[in-house]
């Protein structure tokens, strides 16, 4: 938490303070808060602000706890396909290299995989293949991944869906908090992928 007892920020200005290049001063770049927000978000955290004019401004930053460098106990249970209960996955991704990498990793975990490269092919693939989870690349050549998700959710509301995103297309993400939906930010590790698969089913 960072707070001051200064002049405060007027309510009409408040929605714009994290936008790049926004400034109320003559000098300065308007990048300070934008950079701060980016840093917090990239580290998986949230930043919020409260202000009352003439009295104070309060910024609150929530950051996830750092991963311990100390190794986990060696007898940790390893994930196994039986344990995460995912047997079939549909991948919707136009990058054939990435789809092939995902396929070989999932197949080595005894998961059956079906790949389509266009969003328009997703619904019929799900119908034909009957997966436990659909993995959707957010940026597809023919439509946004969120639209693909809406189509799937309309027909199969309980279907587990995982979005994978690059750094450039985070603005396209649907609202967090959706049920049975997970997000993977590239690059992600095999362990993160397998954990996420287990979480969304």
């Amino acid at each position: 938490m960072v707070a001051d007892t200064g002049c405060g920020i007027p309510p009409q200005t408040l929605p714009f303070i994290f936008e790049p290049w926004f400034t109320t001063r003559r000098s300065g770049t308007g990048l300070g808060l934008a950079v701060a927000q980016q840093l917090v978000v990239r580290n998986g955290g949230t930043i919020g602000v409260e202000s009352s004019v003439g009295a104070s401004t309060r910024f609150e930053i929530d950051l996830p706890e750092a991963l311990p460098v100390v190794p986990a106990p060696l007898d940790d249970e390893r994930l196994s396909p039986q344990k995460f209960g995912v047997r079939r996955v549909v991948i919707v991704a136009d990058d054939a290299v990435v789809a092939s990498g995902l396929t070989s990793i999932l197949e080595s975990e005894d998961v059956e995989v079906h790949v389509v490269s266009l969003g328009s092919e997703a619904v019929s693939a799900v119908e034909a293949f009957d997966p436990d989870v659909v993995l959707i690349d957010i940026s597809l050549p023919d439509m946004s991944g969120t639209v693909v998700h809406e189509q799937i959710a309309a027909k199969w509301p309980r279907m587990g869906v995982i979005f994978s995103t690059g750094h450039a297309d985070e603005s396209q993400l649907p609202q967090p908090g959706l049920k049975n939906v997970g997000f993977l930010r590239k690059p992600y590790s095999t362990d993160v992928l397998l954990t996420m698969l287990r979480e969304v089913v």
Binding site: D76, P187, Y188
Partner: protein, 386 residues
């Protein structure tokens, strides 16, 4: 080995990309090594001089241009390697810069793997690959290694030289059981050093040693190597020792930390506090490989080691080499003056063992007694003897 045998390094921070490329490029006569961080790729390039390197421009997120820097690194350490850059961003300036630095081609993502496949065959390299077999080798990331079950030490007995051959203790030796080149402990530690995380690797090895070596402590002391850098980590080292020893049921007065000669040790308050704290919890110290490199003799009075170890460089066949013999006898007199027990490493035959016993060296270690092996094999030996 055929003329077109290729050793290809694939560098991308996205495991899905390296796995996908490897799956699509696999063929007879090709060895593919996938790397997901710059440090492991550097290590592989330096060691194996690949024929081709396929590298993403951005390895650590949207702000880095490590791929561009990597071209220079490759040109310096493996000039015969041909570098192909891949990137989602195909700005002309980037392509020009890549060419300027010596990349032979540029592929914009997403691309079909067949395109890269054909390109690799077109771009020949004078590099002669020593491993012209059809294999995909994945370089694991350090964080995966640190939490891996495959980080399991070997042990080598330290034996009394009084003629009884009684086992006095076991030295643990870090081993990463894997089909990647990091199964070589030297490469494993070099990789950690490039990531400036030797101390983390040491602590993970220590945890694995206490777990695997716990049954051995009923028969003797447990000697664990420790890089001098680990002492700089302050209270973390003793804390982890206490925690892991408790978890594994090892009493800390059975533990000897062998301070290695792989780095220099400075007399800083943090280091001295760590030493004091370790002594409080019952741990003893040894100086490993005395005289080989840095030598921590200036810290002799502060650390008060219980043991000095003579490296196999001096130990093996010392009885027939007058230089080695003089060095061994000098370290012996040092041990006597400072009241340390001496351990001679590198005893490979009976005559060296006899000569060491004749000099009055109390403890020895080497292939003559036993090769390093996993803890279970020593426990089994005892069982069969009984």
């Amino acid at each position: 080995m055929t003329l077109d045998s290729q050793l290809i390094v694939l560098l991308d921070d996205d495991v899905m990309v390296t796995e996908g490329l490897a799956a699509g490029l696999e063929r007879e006569g090709r060895t593919l090594i996938t790397c997901n961080d710059v440090e492991s790729a550097e290590l592989v390039v330096e060691r194996f001089h690949p024929s081709h390197i396929v590298a993403d421009i951005r390895i650590s997120g949207p702000f880095g241009y490590e791929g561009l820097d990597f071209i220079r690194y490759a040109k310096r350490h493996a000039p015969e390697s041909r570098v192909i850059l891949i990137s989602g961003d195909a700005a002309e300036a980037l392509q020009l810069e890549a060419a300027e630095r010596g990349a032979v081609a540029f592929l914009q993502k997403p691309f079909a793997v067949q395109e890269l496949d054909a390109m690799l065959d077109l771009i020949s390299s004078s590099a002669l690959s020593a491993v012209g077999e059809n294999r995909v080798i994945r370089m694991p990331l350090l964080d995966e290694i640190l939490t891996s079950e495959s980080l399991r030490p070997f042990f080598q007995p330290v034996v009394t030289l009084d003629g009884t051959g009684r086992c006095f203790g076991y030295e643990s030796l870090a081993r990463f059981h894997s089909d990647s080149p990091l199964r070589n402990p030297e490469m494993l530690f070099q990789y950690a050093a490039r990531k400036h995380r030797v101390a983390d690797l040491e602590l993970a090895c220590m945890t694995a040693t206490l777990k695997a070596g716990a049954p051995l402590t009923e028969r003797g002391l447990l000697f664990m190597n420790i890089h001098p850098d680990a002492f700089n980590s302050g209270p973390k080292l003793p804390e982890i020792l206490v925690l892991q020893a408790k978890r594994s049921g090892v009493s800390l007065d059975r533990v000897v930390l062998e301070i290695t000669e792989q780095g220099s040790m400075r007399e800083t308050p943090i280091v001295l506090n760590t030493v004091d704290r370790l002594r409080e919890i019952g741990v003893r110290f040894a100086f490993d490989d005395v005289g080989v490199a840095y030598s921590h003799l200036t810290l002799m009075g502060k650390i008060c080691p219980s043991f000095l170890k003579i490296s196999q460089d001096f130990g093996t066949g010392f009885e027939t080499d007058s230089t080695k013999r003089k060095i061994v006898m000098n370290i012996q007199s040092l041990a006597r003056d400072f009241n340390c027990d001496l351990i001679l490493e590198g005893i490979e035959d009976a005559s060296t063992a006899q000569a060491a016993a004749d000099l009055g060296i109390p403890l020895g270690q080497g292939f003559f007694f036993s090769r390093p092996a996993d803890a279970a094999s020593f426990i089994n030996i005892e069982h069969t003897r009984n």
